[in-house]
């Protein structure tokens, strides 16, 4: 067998095992919308931890972290931090969001806005924007997956066929088992990912430099200044670092966070989860070590995203490459599945139902959501197959974009006076400003993350419009749904 065949068989074996777990997980359960979208709100601490970790640790965190440190150096450290500080915010906000979710039977971010502000226009706008950002994120997972299979198979399997096959598999297990299937695939993925982090994070430095310390010493000597900010960039300075951590700490704004948070058994589960989550960031530090090693092992790559896998391929036997590739593929499949599921539910429940067929039953919503899974999958696949450089810009816009939901969520539970008109106006202004800065190459702008400017304008407009308008009822003050 050629090295490519060995590695590929292991990758497909792991993907097959993952998919089988996904299909079996929902066995014997009646798959209504509540079960499909939020697992009947019955998951305990460990499963919620795995689910939230599963959606946070994506191919972007594996290929992206190592790729960023390879290309940009020091500024990459921000990733380790916002994942931690973001949990501090979730600690305070999460239990309340869960409680509201259970009391008013909310299943999506759109439901939250619809219930609090009583405006279907606002809920549909948030949902549509959410779907767009999810599609961008999804496209990145698929591209990452394609890269993994391509490199691990020694270029024997092309990126495009790999993406098409695996996307079809993901769509199938989302359709058949919903969020519960994703959780169980995530269990396998997490075990593999931690193992892989240890292998590459410790193995690469030891095999090439005799240890992590000597590796860093060699790197500091070869590239002085690279491991501090702005590293290999001109613009990613300390002010960029602080502002980016602040904006990205609003990660609870991602629609799939809401979906996952609602799967918990109770609010306390979310809170304890937020306490222990930073431990899960430690494997990412190991991936970062591996990326640092790759700088010296495989210098001169034009695409930083290939750095980790190229270094691994040059160092380890094919079967190790296969395991790493398989873990990487699952790391793409899990978040992709959550994102497809969330986007489909948003479209069916918060856009299609209120505008096309308000009298629709939950069963019908579930059916429309399943059709939407097909549409979203094909759309993201199309984006992934026709990647253009502007999509990197789109991802940055994705993060600063979802942050614009922040005022609607936070003020919605802290300020009685806030109105739906205010939130909608603020959201549109914030999105427009963040997009304008990103698309004209002004991110960072004046040394700060573009999303922060959007957020500042957003909050100012929300406060001004809310105070000028008349009072509106608070949907969370209403009696509960059940």
């Amino acid at each position: 067998m050629t090295p490519g065949t060995v590695a590929l068989s292991i990758i497909f074996g792991i993907m097959g095992l993952g998919s089988a777990i996904g299909f079996l997980a929902a066995n014997k359960r009646k798959l209504n919308l509540e079960e499909w979208a939020v697992a009947g709100r019955g998951l305990g601490l460990i499963l919620v931890w795995i689910l939230l970790a599963g959606e946070t640790f994506t191919t972007f965190s594996v290929l992206g972290i190592s790729g960023w440190i390879y290309a940009k150096g020091g500024p990459t450290l921000y990733v380790l931090i916002y994942l931690t500080t973001g949990q501090v915010l979730i600690f305070f906000l999460g239990p309340l969001l869960w409680e509201l979710g259970a009391r008013f039977r909310l299943q999506t971010l759109g439901d939250f806005f619809a219930q609090r502000y009583g405006s279907r226009l606002l809920a549909a706008t948030v949902s549509l924007a959410g779907v767009v950002f999810l599609m961008v994120y999804l496209q990145l997972q698929l591209t990452g997956l394609g890269i993994i299979v391509e490199v691990a198979s020694f270029e024997r399997v092309g990126r495009n066929p790999a993406m098409i096959v695996s996307t079809a598999v993901i769509a199938c297990f989302v359709l058949s088992s919903g969020v519960r299937g994703v959780v169980w695939v995530s269990v396998l993925k997490d075990f593999l990912l931690v193992g892989v982090a240890v292998i590459v994070g410790i193995g690469l430095p030891y095999l090439h430099f005799g240890g992590i310390g000597p590796m860093f010493a060699a790197l500091i000597k070869a590239r002085p200044g690279f491991l501090t900010m702005p590293g290999g960039t001109a613009t990613l300075t300390h002010s960029w670092f602080i502002s980016t951590i602040l904006v990205d700490s609003l990660m609870f704004c991602w629609p799939h966070f809401f979906a996952s948070a609602f799967t918990a058994k109770n609010g306390d589960t979310i809170r304890r989860n937020a306490v222990i989550m930073p431990f899960y960031v430690l494997p990412l530090a190991l991936i970062l070590f591996a990326g640092c090693a790759a700088i010296l092992i495989s210098p001169g790559l034009r695409n930083g995203d290939l750095a980790l896998l190229t270094a691994v391929r040059a160092t380890f036997p094919p079967w190790v490459l296969g395991i790493i590739g398989g873990a990487g593929a699952l790391t793409a499949m899990v978040p992709a599945a959550i994102q497809i599921l969330t986007a489909a539910t948003l479209l069916a429940k918060n856009v299609y139902r209120p505008y096309v067929d308000p009298g629709m039953t939950e069963e019908r919503v579930a059916r429309v959501a399943r059709i939407a899974v097909g549409g979203i999958t094909v759309g993201a696949l199309y984006l992934a197959l026709n990647t253009s450089p502007t999509l990197v810009g789109l991802l940055i816009l994705g993060y600063s974009g979802v942050a614009q939901f922040g005022p609607g969520i936070v003020l919605g539970v802290t300020w009685r006076r806030v109105t739906s008109t205010g939130i909608l106006a603020g959201l549109l202004c914030g999105l427009a400003l963040a997009a304008a800065l990103s698309f004209t190459g002004r991110d960072p702008y004046l040394g700060l993350n573009a999303g922060l400017f959007g957020l500042g304008l957003n909050v100012a407009v929300v406060v001004a419009v809310s105070l000028l308008g008349s009072r509106q009822p608070n949907g969370f003050a209403a009696p509960s749904a059940s």
Partner: protein, 65 residues
Amino acid sequence: MLKKPSTLSVLLSLVPFTAMCFTVSLWDRVEPTVLGLPFNLAWILFWLVLTPGIMWTVYGIERRR
């Protein structure tokens, strides 16, 4: 509406933000290396491990209220 957390909880929760974010220009350097790691990376890892401890304390405070 969000139940206001105690002042102590808020102050403790600001520690990770202060240590790992706002003070970046104080610790973003390579020397001295700690256990072979560049200083900035070692600093972050140290606080990364400490943060669950801090938040566990906050958890205890909020639960008692």
